[in-house]
């Protein structure tokens, strides 16, 4: 495998899972350390409060306690390293700046909207539950709440992000989802997602 001429390492970095921008990272690490530290403490307490039916060796809370204790130390470590790079004030400032950027940034707002739509999607599938069957010649054509909700929501997401005409988005959504659902339903005899 010949090495292609490498682009700058900085460019590659963006492709990696877990990349981050250098700027506000100080604030981020500090904030994560605080949240994770608190989380670890909560889990430590919860682990200690679990009942111990057998001997201490087989106590259900043993491993969770060890894990949350070490997690707490790691959070402290992360916090200390963040404080080495800047004071608490710097850290909080960095975080605030980052949050502000996120709120102002169009991408940030679009993300929040997308999360809302995914929420809506999952909730709609959960709340709506119907299952119609229409006999067409020799076989039963089936329509469930899942596919109707999927077609509508995916069509909507396509409309917003793919930015093609409503008809085209709806058509793509309809065809793709019906194809998908048919393979599962008629091919594998699978039940479509529903909350019950």
């Amino acid at each position: 495998m010949d090495d292609r001429p490498k682009r700058k390492a900085k460019r590659n970095q963006e492709t990696l899972p877990g990349h981050y921008e250098r700027g506000p990272v100080v604030g981020k690490n500090f904030a994560s350390a605080v949240v994770i530290g608190v989380l670890a403490m909560v889990f430590m307490v919860l682990s200690l409060r679990l009942e111990v039916p057998g001997s201490i060796y087989t106590a259900p809370g043993m491993l969770p306690f060890i894990v949350s204790l070490t997690l707490f130390f790691m959070a402290v470590g992360l916090g200390i390293s963040a404080l080495r790079q800047g004071s608490i004030g710097d850290n909080l400032g960095g975080l605030a700046r980052h949050l502000k950027n996120y709120a102002v940034d169009q991408e940030g707002r679009r993300t929040v909207m997308l999360i809302g739509m995914v929420f809506l999607y999952v909730l709609l599938v959960a709340v709506l539950s119907f299952d119609f069957r229409i006999p067409v010649f020799f076989f039963d054509f089936e329509i469930t709440s899942y596919e109707v909700v999927s077609i509508l929501v995916v069509g909507m997401i396509l409309r917003i992000f793919w930015k093609k005409s409503l008809v085209r988005c709806g058509f793509v959504s309809l065809i793709m989802i019906e194809a998908l659902v048919s393979v599962f339903r008629y091919g594998f005899g699978m039940i479509m997602p529903e909350a019950f």
């Binding site: 039916p53 119609f132 039963d140 329509i143 109707v148 509508l152 005899g189 039940i191």
Partner: protein, 354 residues
């Protein structure tokens, strides 16, 4: 957007009108939800049953597996479906664990109509290099050394655990129950020597006994079993005669329909069930695994379901299994009072002529 919604709405009205024209039951595929994983004893027996049911009737029966929480997840799933017979519960033991340790509030004999197709029996085996090669040796060893013996079970508060606890209670054996995720893994633990005794079902041990990888100690049936290679798996009553009237300690394979399903649908299912259990193909699947066809329906099955739940609740109470509900909490009598208690006042058998 508006055009799309009105189109969809129109579609549904049309669908509703068309679907209201009812034909004979079933007019669509039936879904059997098995509460254990594919490839295990319950799954194989019930899949074979479903295959034969659809073969004789032409119905489409899809089998799906929904595992977890001692069958309670599968039970809840079926309970949340309409009681129209399109969703069947594939259970073992008349689903007795779901209420005791799984926290589901349905009673098998008042909320369900269970049909028993067959049952499997329990088995204890050891490695060929084990210090004891028979149940007698085991009892000897246990008497001489005060050490606990370890036995693998299919899970805390599961069937293998329960059977072993009953045997330990009668024989005074001092056992330490080591739980595994299922009967196959419990057998493996005996095979690789992690525990002194491999607990499990005869159907899980018998091939390994035939191949010489395991040595049988006993099984919980009423008579000895002779394998195809001529090895004898003795019944536990050979060594402990006082256990005889509690045998066979077995695990029935059952399917359940909700009791509030239209009565003619229940009879249709029962008819298909009868044809299936009598088919030679089903017989063959079951016989090959040393599982025994034993059909039980109606009032007998209801009584059996109640009795099994009472026995299990009583023994789990004595063992102090965490999370297990007591007989009192379940509104059940203890084992010794069962005969006087049955039938309870809120029980009514399903009959063909109401």
């Amino acid at each position: 957007m508006g055009r799309l919604t009105s189109f969809v709405a129109l579609f549904f009205v049309a669908a509703l009108l068309l679907s209201s024209a009812r034909a004979d039951w079933p007019e669509r595929p039936i879904n059997m939800v098995v509460m254990y994983a594919p490839g295990g004893g319950t799954d194989i027996v019930l899949r074979a049953l479903a295959t034969e049911m659809s073969r004789s009737t032409g119905w489409v029966i899809n089998v799906t597996n929904r595992t977890g929480a001692s069958g309670a997840l599968a039970t809840r799933y079926v309970l949340n479906k309409r009681p129209d017979g399109y969703t069947l519960l594939g259970a073992s033991n008349f689903n007795k664990y779901a209420r005791i340790v799984g926290g589901v509030d349905t009673r098998p004999w008042t909320d369900w109509y269970f049909m028993q197709a067959a049952y499997g029996i329990g088995s204890w085996s050891v490695r060929p290099d084990s210090p004891f090669q028979s149940f007698q040796d085991l009892m000897e060893t246990a008497r001489q050394e005060s050490n606990e013996l370890t036995i693998s079970t299919s899970g805390a508060g599961g069937q293998v655990h329960e059977m072993a606890a009953i045997i330990a209670q009668v024989t005074g054996l001092n056992l330490k129950y080591v739980p595994y995720a299922g009967g196959q893994v419990a057998t493996l633990a005996g095979l690789n020597g992690e525990v002194d005794i491999a607990g499990g079902g005869v159907h899980e041990h018998i091939r390994l006994i035939d191949s010489g990888d395991l040595v049988p100690l006993m099984q919980t049936g009423t008579t000895d079993i002779v394998t195809t290679t001529g090895k004898v798996i003795p019944t536990v009553s050979n060594f402990v005669p006082q256990i005889r009237d509690r045998l066979p300690l077995n695990g029935p394979y059952t399917i359940g329909v909700r009791r509030d399903t239209p009565i003619e649908v229940i009879w249709a299912i029962e008819e298909a069930f009868f044809t299936a259990v009598q088919s030679s193909a089903f017989e063959e699947v079951v016989r090959q695994r040393n599982i025994f066809v034993d059909v039980m329906v109606g009032e007998n099955a209801d009584r059996r379901a109640a009795e099994l739940e009472v026995i299990t609740a009583t023994i789990f109470e004595e063992l102090g299994i965490p999370g297990a509900r007591t007989t009192e909490e379940l509104g059940l009598p203890e084992t010794k009072d069962f005969d006087r208690w049955w039938p309870p006042s809120d029980y009514a058998p399903l009959t063909r002529n109401p």
